[in-house]
């Protein structure tokens, strides 16, 4: 069953797109990430133009993140003040990312920069997550009763609220700058390379900000939903590259998959969840490394600058 995508301007197989949506949704629900790091390359693989894939995936990430928010709110695993701070800075980052993408596209550098950025980001995060979670798992086996590790601390929301919005000491200012920098970087990368940034924000919240895994995932959902909504609107306004039909198919598959993913996540131990995510990220970064060094099937790339429609 084929459907014509009005903005991508090609016909694609609907069950294939739904399957991509479901697969990405399961990963998104399981790990609390947007899943853009999976869906963007998969869409490009099935023939969707990269600019349309990056822009449309923003809408899918927004939907899959939004679908998890109520569940996270009920489980009280969202730090709303932290989420608000990240959303504000993420919005600024999204705007900068969209502008940077347009600039790189005009110089023919977008695909190389996007691939290298993906590789560095995913490789770094995947390695550190895998190593840390393996350590945690081994430590847990040796000292099952010892939960004094930073990542395993029970969540206490009040200190975070005071970190984010109150300025009492120079250290508070530094923390606020760190949050702003994190949100800005996530928004920038999200808009630039078509990923939600959950891959970046979840590990940073866990390891640098000492936020427990469940809260990092819940808070990142709120941040991702908001920053991707901004990113989608900006892509539509500046590049006219958001395909509503493609977005709807991906969203339908994605939100269904996300529910299964989040159910699985509840039943898994945090360090196992982090190890799985780390290994998945490493596998994908390996694929990107191959893309850079492997001789491409086509030794040329075509960019359509303008079309005459009359």
């Amino acid at each position: 069953m084929e459907i014509y995508l009005p903005i991508a301007e090609l016909s694609v197989n609907v069950p294939l797109l739904l399957a991509i949506g479901v697969a990405v949704g399961v990963v998104a629900g399981l790990f609390g990430v947007g899943g853009g790091f999976l869906s963007t390359p998969l869409l490009i693989l099935v023939g969707i133009p990269p600019a349309v894939a990056i822009a449309t995936v923003s809408a899918q990430i927004a939907a899959s993140s939004a679908s998890g928010i109520i569940g996270h709110a009920e489980r009280r695993t969202i730090d709303w003040s932290l989420a608000t701070a990240l959303v504000i800075s993420g919005t600024v980052g999204s705007a900068l990312g969209v502008a940077a993408l347009r600039l790189l596209e005009s110089r023919g550098l977008a695909d190389t920069v996007v691939t290298v950025a993906f590789l560095l980001l995913l490789g770094g995060i995947g390695s550190s997550m895998s190593i840390e979670s393996l350590h945690a798992k081994l430590r847990g086996k040796r000292q099952a009763h010892d939960n004094a590790g930073a990542a395993a601390r029970p969540y206490q929301p009040l200190p975070y609220q005071s970190w984010v919005f109150s300025v009492r000491t120079p250290r508070d200012v530094l923390r606020q700058l760190a949050f702003a920098g994190l949100g800005c970087a996530v928004g920038f990368l999200g808009a630039l390379i078509g990923i939600g940034g959950g891959l970046l924000v979840v590990p940073v919240l866990i390891y640098a900000m000492r936020v427990p895994t469940a809260v990092a995932i819940g808070t990142s959902s709120v941040m991702l939903a908001a920053s991707m909504l901004v990113s989608t609107t900006l892509h539509a306004a500046t590049g006219r590259t958001v395909d509503a039909v493609l977005a709807l198919i991906l969203i339908v598959g994605g939100v269904a998959g996300a529910q299964f993913g989040s159910m699985l996540a509840i039943s898994m131990r945090p360090e196992r969840l982090r190890l799985l995510l780390g290994l998945l990220i490493l596998a994908i970064s390996g694929r990107f490394a191959l893309n850079l060094i492997e001789t491409p099937a086509d030794l040329h790339v075509v960019q359509i600058i303008a079309e005459s429609r009359l």
Binding site: R240, V245, A247, E307, L310
Partner: protein, 260 residues
Amino acid sequence: VSRRGGIVFALSLLASLQAGQAISAELTVAISKPIIRIGSNYTGSSVTVFGTAQMSGSEQCRPEIVVTLRGPDETAVIRSRVRKAGIWINDQSVRLVHAPSLFKIAASRRLEQIAVADVRAQSGVDIDAVLSNSMVMQSAKEIAKAGPSYAAWRQQKAQEDMFSLDEGAVTWLGDRLFSTMFSIPAAARVGPYEAVASAFCGGLLRIQQATLVQVVKAGISQRVFEAAQGWPISYGLGVTLMALLCGLLASFTFARPRMG
């Protein structure tokens, strides 16, 4: 266009004028469907170009027909990929300005047998000549470097059924009536497509006639496209609202029954 080509074309025109006294050419051309609508289930289409051709006069000549179909123009940059420091990056580029997004040729026999290369180029029935008119290059060094990627792009366009040459595809349905069919692939751009029929005789172009077919989006595809182009901010906000509502709806649908 080369100087030699210009001279040959001038000579062929002169010969045509002289021959015109001996041969009078008549050509009509029409198209099976003037509008192709791209709906949500569009997977490609086809269009038949047909017409009548007749040469009369003192000189006996059965015309040879070449029909071209040219899609909307596009400006494209073709960049070659080279390995630098171990990784593949984009390098030298060829810029094509107002190049046809689709260009198909159907002929009643082999093009070499219909007219020589320069006449074909001047008559607009040579894809290489059409594309070279669109090419923007700065130096011979650039041309040499970008040549292979340009050739690869040509090959890719042929594989995508955007460029084609079908010699023998124009068939005669009698003494005067000819017909040929062009496929319009699923990835064809929307816009005007010009079908041009050219009648050759004695290796010279005698007469050309053109007709138009419009490829347009229809139904939901058209509405989505127009909204994205005409009201981009409202369209973007609409898509984001749809995403948000779908997400929240799914959350309620899946989560609430379990809570109860």
